[in-house]
């Protein structure tokens, strides 16, 4: 680590000399950065005005109501956090600049490292936010059951990124990929399990997703694994799963079978029921759209829910009666073509393979019902004016941050290679000016684009 300053060479002397002699007393580099920032103010000014003009013109963020749900889309806690982080990065930046002026190169490195990390956190927040906004949010009622009849119903408000989508089909697929939120806690060979005598029995314990209405937090069972033909393995749910609760889970009957991608919902959004819902069982159910907060609507819903529950009880009766019995089920069609699996050699290996097939069989459950009850439509460039102005503006800002991070990263690297020394304090100062500016612009965007939506 070069910490001692190399002696000044001619060229540097010349530069320093030249800069000190400017008519204004401000170094050329610094002056040009100020000018650039002045111009950049106009860039952002134009973008922000475009956004605000359209925002004022279209109270719904779009000529039609329902294309966007702005406060529903925003995640103000996250953005506030990002804003705070960026603000703190500016603080670190100021410290980095002043350490460089003092010649304390090691603290310059530390602070700059901090700025870079904070910048990256901000960028990660923005990427996350964009993803999140783009996919929208959906709330779904769902029901999964084992073939033998145990039923779990739930209200999927999953916070996982890829579930969190307005599009029912995509959400459903994501839900399936995540094993309906079921989490395998333990998976061990049962007592007396023997490699030589397949099928082998494993004991398992599974955790249910948080917001599930009816089930215990965990349940357990046995998995009877067939190493030569994994598809023929069987799941036995041993624990008792109580019947689904009667009222809380009910929302409303679905209106229609939805298949197109663009979810359209009322702009009110937060409590509105979706017009689009999907269900596998209740396609003929009466179509009605109502607001849950509305009293009469709530009553209607209760009725609808009772119907719904009555129906589901039929399905759930069996498991309740025979909960203590062993229920076996075939995870897959028996006639499924066999894949030839090489003979397993150790128990650990078999456990691993069994666990994998067990997972792929969704721990023995199947999705029966998946319907949207509430939606915040995804925000993209195309579907709304708000989306267009929002992404282009914040994206431009994000690009600025990314360039700043790259710049500081280069400086950090060159401070180690010896190219950047305390005599280049002015270079650091310029990067600092840029960084502070980008930060200030964000404060403005955060205020006039995010916060004003909440007043």
């Amino acid at each position: 680590m070069p910490s001692a300053n190399p002696p000044l060479d001619d060229q540097l002397l010349e530069e320093i000399h030249a800069d000190q002699n400017t008519n204004t007393g401000i170094e050329n580099k610094k002056l040009i950065m100020w000018l650039f920032l002045a111009s950049d103010c106009m860039f952002f000014g134009t973008l922000i005005s475009t956004h605000l003009i359209y925002r004022k013109l279209y109270p719904f963020g779009h000529p039609e109501e329902g294309a966007v749900n702005i406060t529903g889309t925003f995640d103000i806690e996250l953005t506030s956090f990002s804003t705070f982080i960026l603000l703190m990065s500016s603080f670190l930046m100021a410290l980095a600049v002043s350490s460089m002026h003092k010649g304390a190169i090691q603290s310059f490195r530390n602070y700059t490292f901090g700025v870079i990390i904070f910048g990256l956190i901000f960028l990660a927040g923005q990427v996350y936010e964009f993803q999140h906004f783009y996919h929208g949010q959906g709330w779904y009622d769902w029901k999964v059951s084992s073939n033998a009849g145990q039923v779990i119903v739930g209200n999927e408000k999953n916070k996982l990124l890829f579930h969190d989508v307005a599009n029912t089909a995509a959400a459903k697929e994501g839900f399936g990929h995540e094993q309906f939120g079921l989490e395998l806690l333990s998976f061990t060979p049962a007592e007396g399990a023997d490699l030589a005598h397949p099928p082998i029995t494993f004991k398992y314990e599974v955790e249910l997703p948080d917001e599930v209405g009816n089930a215990p937090e965990t349940f357990y069972g046995e998995y009877i694994y067939n190493p030569t033909d994994p598809h023929a393995s069987q799941v036995v749910v041993l624990s008792e799963i109580p019947p689904p609760p009667v009222i809380e889970e009910a929302k409303e009957a679905p209106k229609e079978e939805a298949s197109d991608d663009t979810a359209k919902a009322d702009s009110g959004g937060k409590t509105d029921a979706s017009e689009k819902a999907e269900t596998t069982e209740e396609a003929e159910a009466p179509a009605e759209a109502s607001e849950t907060k509305d009293v009469t609507a709530a009553q209607e819903q209760t009725e609808a829910a009772e119907e719904h529950v009555a129906e589901s009880t039929e399905h759930t009766e069996a498991p309740n009666e025979h909960a203590t019995e062993k229920h076996t089920e075939d995870t897959h069609n028996e006639a499924h073509p066999h894949t030839h699996t090489p003979a397993p050699t150790s128990m650990a290996e078999v456990t691993k393979a069994a666990k994998e097939t067990f997972k792929h069989s969704n721990y023995g459950f199947e999705l029966n019902e998946f319907k949207q009850v509430q939606v915040v439509p995804g925000l993209d460039l195309k579907t709304s004016v708000f989306g267009s102005t929002f992404y282009v503006m914040t994206g431009t800002h994000g690009t600025h941050v990314a360039i700043g991070v790259l710049w500081l990263f280069s400086m950090l690297v060159y401070s180690y290679s010896g190219r950047l020394t305390p005599r280049h304090a002015v270079d650091v100062e310029i990067a600092g000016l840029y960084w502070h500016f980008v930060d200030i612009v964000w404060i403005v965007i955060f205020t006039v684009v995010y916060l004003v939506e909440y007043i």
Binding site: Q11, N23, Y58, K382, V385
Partner: protein, 671 residues
């Protein structure tokens, strides 16, 4: 210290300078830093503001010719009623490219040529503040110009059936007008011509911004000792104001273009009317840029004229502070009048009245300048040299354009004139009668300094006569055509409208004008290579650039001058306050090294631009090519930052026994 000092430095320029390398040149990306000072590598990698200025000028003249040919095609088509010489679509492409070319590739680069060549010389600096950034501006400009004009090749390829047969829109060259009104320029109505236009203008915007930052820093920071702001030559002042206008006005159009680009490429809704996009937003953003832009065009010409008039009246400029101040006021007010281009869109009574008044107000500082120029002429010993004739033409023609401008500052009158040939007459009087005459005056004035050869004066008078006469024959009748209702941007007209005669006259005038301009360019090209040699100060100049030897050495000034008065060279020659020189600091003159990377950025931009248009046409992998192009630009900028300014030392030639610059009294070094 006597005038002998100046002698020394004006006579011994031809001695071979002694070049010593300062730091070992690093090689990045296998590109060794070019240190050739001859041949084409020198030209493409040069960081010398004078060479850059010459290249800007060369490109500008080339594009003036291209834009001129487009104009003549327009006039040919309109010469007789119901003409079918060219199709309506081609006609649209011609007027769009004509306007875009003249403004962005003709006038602005020619102004930039003067900025580059003159500003460092006029302020007594050895170069601009950021020499490589200057090279970057040049090649970025060339890239933007290339992207715009290559669209003609695609149009040709399309016409003969080689390209884009499956596309819905068949305009491969821009056809949406120089102000590209959205949603007309959206993907619903125009084809990849608009993509070329958008990307081309954005690239040109980068060039203009970079150049402006550079010139502002140069003018604010690099003035020679004693060259206070109120001693700056007016041309330099106008460069400063223009540069400020550019850095504040260009962002608006850059963002508008970016928004339009997102609409076209990614389906956003900025100007998509079916989804709530507002055409009026484009108009506002465009004219917030557009009106300052007309002052960006005219202020440099005003600066040039302000240099020429006093020189040939043998009087100092009348009311220097007022000329400077009115230029700055024009700059400010220029941002407050844009909506006068939109009176007929229904802005509302209050807005219309306000913009009407502000527009009338902006004529005041303009008028002040004209009176100052007249005051300069008053009582002077006027010499009607060629630059002087052009300058006088400038005042007169520009004033006529100003009059019609005031006419349409009145909203009710403008409701009649908007989009008619009356507006065409107005802006050609200000742009051609004003700006171009000013720039031609500048060429006749400074070419002898730039190349050390005198332009043929006889040919010059002929040029002035043909240009001014041809110009009036072309554009004066357009006032009448406009007032009798001939709409602008119409590719033909019926024979019974009463417009036949004046259209024919205008076409004839256009050819006279064309011959005049061509004669001028021939004169320049001939002079550059074969013209009569002249000395360093052929006109009896007033400002510092005339104190340097001709051709100007790479380091401009062997020793930095110390300025003691406004019009310092004039005072030096005829008055008591002589120019002094900074003492020699003993280690030669530090010169910046040349660089490949600005050129790399230029290539990157050109590749990016064409790829973007190809992406618009649906050519496979064009998107990746666009990313590659942009990456090349970033790489270029990054490597150029890494490579550092570099540098070497030049020893200016010394005359034994003569006064050395370093015996300038040290006390003079302070302002």
């Amino acid at each position: 210290m006597s005038s002998a000092t100046a002698e020394v430095h004006t006579t011994h320029h031809h001695a071979v300078a002694d070049k010593t390398q300062l730091a070992p040149e690093k090689s990045l990306l296998g590109l060794t830093r070019p240190d050739r000072h001859t041949g084409w590598i020198d030209w493409v990698t040069t960081v010398d503001h004078k060479k850059i200025g010459i290249m800007y000028g060369g490109f500008a003249l080339l594009f003036f010719i291209i834009g001129g040919i487009e104009a003549l095609m327009i006039r040919l088509q309109l010469s007789v009623p119901q003409n079918d010489l060219i199709t309506a679509q081609l006609y649209n492409q011609f007027f769009t490219m004509h306007g875009t070319t003249m403004i962005f590739l003709g006038v602005m680069p020619l102004s930039a040529a003067f900025f580059n060549f003159l500003v460092p010389l006029q302020i007594g600096a050895r170069d601009v503040a950021f020499p490589r950034l200057n090279t970057f501006s040049l090649w970025t400009f060339v890239a933007g110009a290339f992207v715009l004009n290559i669209s003609w090749l695609f149009q040709f390829a399309h016409t003969v059936g080689w390209f884009g047969q499956g596309l819905v829109h068949t305009d491969m060259a821009p056809s949406g007008g120089w102000f590209g009104y959205a949603p007309l320029t959206g993907d619903k109505y125009t084809g990849i011509g608009t993509d070329f236009w958008i990307v081309g203008l954005q690239i040109l915007g980068v060039a203009s911004l970079a150049a402006s930052f550079n010139f502002i820093v140069t003018i604010l920071n690099m003035r020679a000792p004693g060259m206070t702001m109120m001693r700056l030559p007016v041309f330099t002042w106008m460069t400063l104001v223009t540069s400020f206008l550019i850095i504040f006005a260009f962002p608006a159009i850059t963002i508008a273009l970016a928004e339009l680009m997102f609409d076209r490429y990614f389906g956003s809704n900025f100007f998509r009317t079916e989804n709530g996009g507002q055409p009026i937003l484009w108009q506002h953003l465009f004219w917030v840029f557009g009106h300052p832009e007309v002052y960006i065009l005219v202020l440099p010409a005003m600066g040039i004229v302000s240099e020429i008039l006093p020189t040939f009246s043998k009087k100092p400029l009348f009311g220097y502070p007022i000329i400077v101040f009115s230029g700055a006021v024009i700059g400010f007010l220029g941002f407050a009048v844009w909506s006068h281009h939109m009176f007929t869109t229904g802005l509302g009574k209050v807005a219309t009245a306000a913009f009407s008044l502000l527009t009338m107000a902006i004529a005041v500082p303009t008028g002040v300048k004209i009176f100052n120029w007249m005051g300069t002429l008053w009582g002077g010993r006027i010499k009607f040299t060629v630059p002087m004739v052009f300058s006088l033409g400038f005042i007169w023609m520009f004033m006529l354009g100003g009059f019609t401008g005031i006419m349409h500052s009145s909203a009710p009158a403008d409701a009649q004139q908007q989009d008619s040939y009356f507006v065409v007459a107005h802006f050609h009087y200000v742009l051609l009668g004003g700006v171009l005459l000013g720039l031609l005056a500048g060429l006749y004035f400074w070419v002898p300094k730039i190349f050390g050869r005198m332009l043929n004066q006889k040919l010059g008078y002929w040029t002035a006569f043909l240009v001014i006469a041809g110009f009036n024959i072309t554009f004066f009748p357009m006032h009448y055509l406009g007032l009798t209702g001939m709409p602008r941007r119409t590719h033909t007209y019926l024979g019974d409208m009463g417009w036949n005669l004046w259209n024919l006259v205008a076409t004839i005038g256009a050819f006279i004008l064309g011959i005049g301009v061509l004669l001028c360019f021939v004169n320049i090209v001939y002079t550059v290579f074969k013209g009569k040699k002249c000395d360093a100060d052929p006109w009896g100049g007033r400002t510092l650039e005339w104190s340097t030897p001709t051709p100007v050495p790479a380091y401009n000034f062997a020793a930095t001058p110390i300025v003691q008065a406004r019009d310092c060279f004039w005072v030096h020659k005829h008055g008591d306050k002589k120019i002094e020189y900074m003492p020699d600091d003993g280690h030669g003159i530090h010169m910046p090294s040349q660089s490949w990377f600005p050129l790399l950025c230029g290539f990157g931009f050109a590749f990016f631009g064409v790829s973007m248009a190809m992406m618009g046409a649906g050519v496979p992998y064009a998107g990746y090519c666009a990313i590659a192009g942009l990456s090349a630009v970033f790489l270029g900028v990054y490597l150029w930052a890494l490579e550092g300014p570099g540098g070497y030392h030049l020893e200016p030639p010394h005359e034994e026994g003569a006064d050395k610059p370093h015996d300038a009294p040290a006390s003079h070094a302070a302002h």
